[in-house]
Subunit: 252 residues, 2 copies
């Protein structure tokens, strides 16, 4: 009896008990309505690094909220190489861009051991018929994505290698901070290769910039472990701003 309860708690953390609920979809709902959302969510086994959540071209049926770990989405270029289109950390929603099509326009793959909440879209859509706030939250998520992509396009068309990496690090830092983690030091879940791919840089360039940043006292990098030692200057490079001492803001 007790053991069964425990198992259920471990494998099925309800939205109302989830530490991410105020960063994720449930934030749009009143406490008594959260269970409604909860009922349609499916929680599966963890994905191991390298496993796919869905493949480009798979029939679209669900969006997913990352619970732990990290995902990347990517699409194939004409030459068959992969182009990474985004990284997704806990509380973030992945799969929305396929929403108006029959198929996912990108593949989603775990870049470390990852747990997700699956939200079948037809049921989410029905639910959102009754909850205007949920609807608006979905809109907000998509609008934010559009604005992020805008920033990304600016990065790709105007920024040099240093600025790209600085922007990327500051952006990650702010996403960690949002979830209550340190924005000073954190662990990169992606490889240098994936970072370069995403930022439109060769691996070697990424490596060189990291080395140079370290030499100049901006960061301390030990493999995937990153410590930001001069947030001020890193932000300046990224083109963002520091609101308070050591308090990194997302580059909108």
């Amino acid at each position: 009896m007790v053991s069964k309860l425990n198992v259920r708690q471990v494998t099925h953390v309800a939205c109302r008990d989830c530490s991410l609920s105020q960063l994720c979809l449930p934030l749009a709902l009143k406490i008594e309505d959260i269970d409604e959302l909860d009922r349609i969510i499916k929680r599966g086994r963890p994905l191991k690094k390298g496993e796919h959540l869905f493949l480009e071209g798979d029939p679209f049926h669900s969006v997913y909220a990352v619970r732990s770990g990290a995902l990347k989405t990517y699409t194939a270029t004409n030459e068959g190489e992969e182009q990474i289109t985004g990284f997704y950390l806990p509380s973030e929603l992945v799969g929305l861009s396929g929403l108006d099509t029959e198929a996912y326009p990108v593949s989603a793959q775990a870049i470390e051991t990852t747990m997700v909440c699956e939200i079948p879209f037809d049921r989410l859509e029905k639910l959102s018929d009754d909850y205007p706030e949920l609807r608006r939250q979905l809109m907000r998520v998509m609008c934010r994505k559009i604005r992020e992509d805008q920033q990304m396009k600016l990065l790709l068309s105007k920024k040099n290698a240093d600025e790209r990496i600085a922007t990327f690090l500051i952006n990650l830092a702010s996403r960690f901070r949002r979830r209550g983690f340190s924005s000073q030091s954190f662990r990169l879940s992606m490889s240098r290769n994936e970072m370069g791919n995403y930022l439109g840089l060769a691996v070697e360039t990424v490596s060189r910039v990291f080395t140079r940043f370290q030499k100049n006292g901006l960061i301390n990098a030990n493999g995937k472990e990153i410590e930001i030692t001069n947030a001020m200057e890193l932000c300046a490079l990224a083109g963002g701003k520091l609101v308070e001492h050591q308090d990194i803001v997302n580059i909108q």
Copy 2:
């Protein structure tokens, strides 16, 4: 009496009489519901080239459908230069990316004499409460935008100058085609400068690529007048495909 009617027709083309209705928001509505949408739409005087529809930071209140002419949206980089984020042709919706914020995240400016339909967002939102199909259409427009941005990011991070220009031309061609115009020959509404800015290239590079394309028989360019003389090869360069003879498809 008659003259008054005429004036009204000229300045106030109703959605139901608009040739763009099946390419624009009304396509989500039944014929009898279109008038409902029509009632909330405001149609103002034409914007002259260079006039702004809204400025970055202006309070968000409306989305706009382009009726004739063309707009660009742009944002300021940290160094104060402009970064063009999109071009908008007739039937296309501009202003949606500010939807979840208090302010427009970009400026919108006419690049030639332009007419727009203004759709106050609070009223559109109310209307969409009653018309699920309208709601879904809005979602679709945003999803498409996200996917277009994805393609744009790929262009900016992986394609060389030739491929960028080819992609741009093919994309424009397909948008003209969608509206029933020739995809073979058309007039660019933007300057070489704006094109380069948008594509992440220097003006000189754009100019050189145009010259080279012409030399190689891919296009015939006379100032802003463009004729595509080898659609096949241009598509190949862009990484798209030709469905039928001379039948250009959008690069998804």
